[in-house]
């Protein structure tokens, strides 16, 4: 069985529940053990089973995230300055070869050494000096976005496995009703443990203490994380077809809640990082150099490059 056959499983569950109900007859009289009202109720429940699985059959395809993850890997390649070029969050494509283009800006320092204008001075202090920190922070943020996508991918993968398990366990429970033991089973919601939080530290341009952020990633791919939450479990039972279907409904409702909760953890982490970026904008984006506004006529003005001492 697999997620791709989820709607077939749903049909199978409905058919099996109905068949099991009709098997429960007195061998002597052939009369059913259940009342006509009970059958009416069960018919409605059976007809509703495909509808209960239908939203889950449309869960996103985890592989749909691969293209975006690969794109962010290319972004990390561009932002790798050579110093600490390891992904600080994820083990998926962990080391990025330094991009030599990034060394060119610090190399520009010698070209403006002899100039006296205000914009020339500020170009060094506001642009050249903080540039390594800005690049480093952008590298970390792109890594955090990439790991959030990896978390989403892992979440949908586990959500698909979980809903497939609910369907499979329901079929097993229907098969198991005639046995002498109590018909009970436990659903484990692995989707909750599919993601993990991991801390990263941003560099501050002024050399102050770094800013801590908390990223999320796929539990199987983060570099070092706090132990993931124990996946929650739900123990359910059912000695009659309607009871088994009700337990199945409980499991599906709980699964939806756990998916929503996990998705919110990813969204919250991204929102928090977004807030940090806005609060510390200078640490992520270089100021626009005043020299960018220079014209042929103004370039040698004291407010711009001034005069060369050479």
């Amino acid at each position: 069985m697999s997620f791709e056959q989820l709607m077939q499983h749903a049909d199978d569950i409905a058919r099996r529940a109905w068949r099991k109900a009709n098997e429960n007859v007195d061998p002597q009289s052939g009369a059913s053990s259940y009342s006509p009202d009970w059958f009416d109720n069960l018919r409605g429940m059976c007809e509703g089973v495909p509808g209960q699985y239908e939203p889950f059959s449309k869960l996103p395809n985890p592989s749909d995230y691969d293209a975006a993850i690969d794109m962010l890997k290319k972004g990390l390649e561009k932002l790798s300055s050579g110093q600490d070029n390891r992904d600080p969050i994820s083990t998926n494509g962990s080391v990025y070869i330094a991009n030599p283009v990034l060394t060119k800006l610090s190399g520009a320092e010698s070209y403006i050494e002899g100039w006296t204008g205000k914009a020339a001075m500020e170009f060094k202090s506001n642009f050249i000096d903080p540039f390594p920190a800005v690049v480093r922070n952008q590298f970390i943020v792109v890594a955090a976005i990439k790991s959030a996508l990896e978390a989403e991918k892992a979440m949908w993968q586990k959500a698909r496995e979980d809903v497939d398990k609910v369907a499979h366990d329901t079929i097993t429970a229907l098969d198991n009703m005639g046995e002498s033991g109590k018909n009970e089973w436990t659903m484990t919601f692995t989707v909750v443990a599919s993601i993990a939080a991991v801390g990263a530290t941003l560099v501050t341009a002024g050399g102050a203490a770094g800013i801590a952020i908390t990223a999320v990633g796929a539990a199987s791919q983060v570099v070092a994380a706090a132990a993931p939450d124990d996946p929650p479990k739900l123990q359910v039972s059912g000695e009659h077809p309607d009871q088994v279907l009700r337990s199945m409904g409980d499991c599906l409702r709980r699964l939806q809640e756990e998916i929503d909760r996990t998705d919110k953890r990813i969204a919250d982490a991204l929102m928090s990082i977004n807030g940090t970026i806005h609060a510390e904008k200078d640490s992520f984006v270089s100021k626009r150099p005043a020299l960018a506004t220079a014209t042929k006529e103004s370039i040698k003005d004291p407010s711009q490059m001034g005069y060369s001492s050479d």
Binding site: S35, H168, T172, K182, E239, D242
Partner: protein, 171 residues
């Protein structure tokens, strides 16, 4: 993950008495086949035969339950080796009544009767003239027939008990 119903339909378990004088196989849910070691059936007296068959029935059911839990574990994707303890009053009551269930199976000619209480305490009765009149293969078939009837009787009673204790109208 396997399908439990398929596993139960295709189950194959077997058991032998200590010493190997009688062998029994369970195919599927209720088909029981019995065979005797060469010469055993001719020599054995009725009392020993009844005791040996009762012992064999117990061993066969133990083997069946072991295989059942293996199939259930496979279907659920997790190790299940037995029932969880009964906690709710309803579960406690179910187990109490189940442990007292007396199931019985009788061969169509009345030659063999197998009974059990709580699927634990087994008893086999062989009629007076069965040993003298039935050939070995015929007798083995009668034992299998009685055992199959017992399994059906037990399943029926379990169904009825579950109807009483886990009343679908109250859920």
């Amino acid at each position: 993950m396997g399908i439990l119903a398929d596993g139960l339909d295709n189950m194959r378990v077997q058991a032998s008495t200590p010493g190997g004088s009688i062998n029994a196989q369970l195919h599927g849910r209720s088909d029981v086949y019995v065979s005797f070691a060469p010469g055993y059936y001719r020599r054995v007296d009725r009392g020993d035969l009844e005791a040996h068959l009762a012992s064999l029935a117990r061993l066969l059911w133990v083997a069946r339950m072991r295989e059942y839990y293996a199939l259930l574990s496979d279907a659920l994707g997790m190790q299940v080796t037995g029932e969880s303890p009964a906690i709710s009053p309803r579960d406690v009551e179910y187990e109490r009544q189940r442990d007292g269930l007396r199931a019985e199976g009788r061969a169509s000619d009345g030659s063999v009767t197998v009974s059990v209480v709580g699927m634990k305490t087994w008893k086999v009765s062989v009629s007076d003239h069965a040993l003298n009149t039935l050939r070995e293969e015929e007798f083995a078939a009668r034992v299998g027939e009685a055992a199959g009837a017992l399994i059906h009787d037990h399943r029926r009673q379990i169904r009825e008990l579950k109807m009483r204790i886990y009343d679908p109208a109250f859920t």
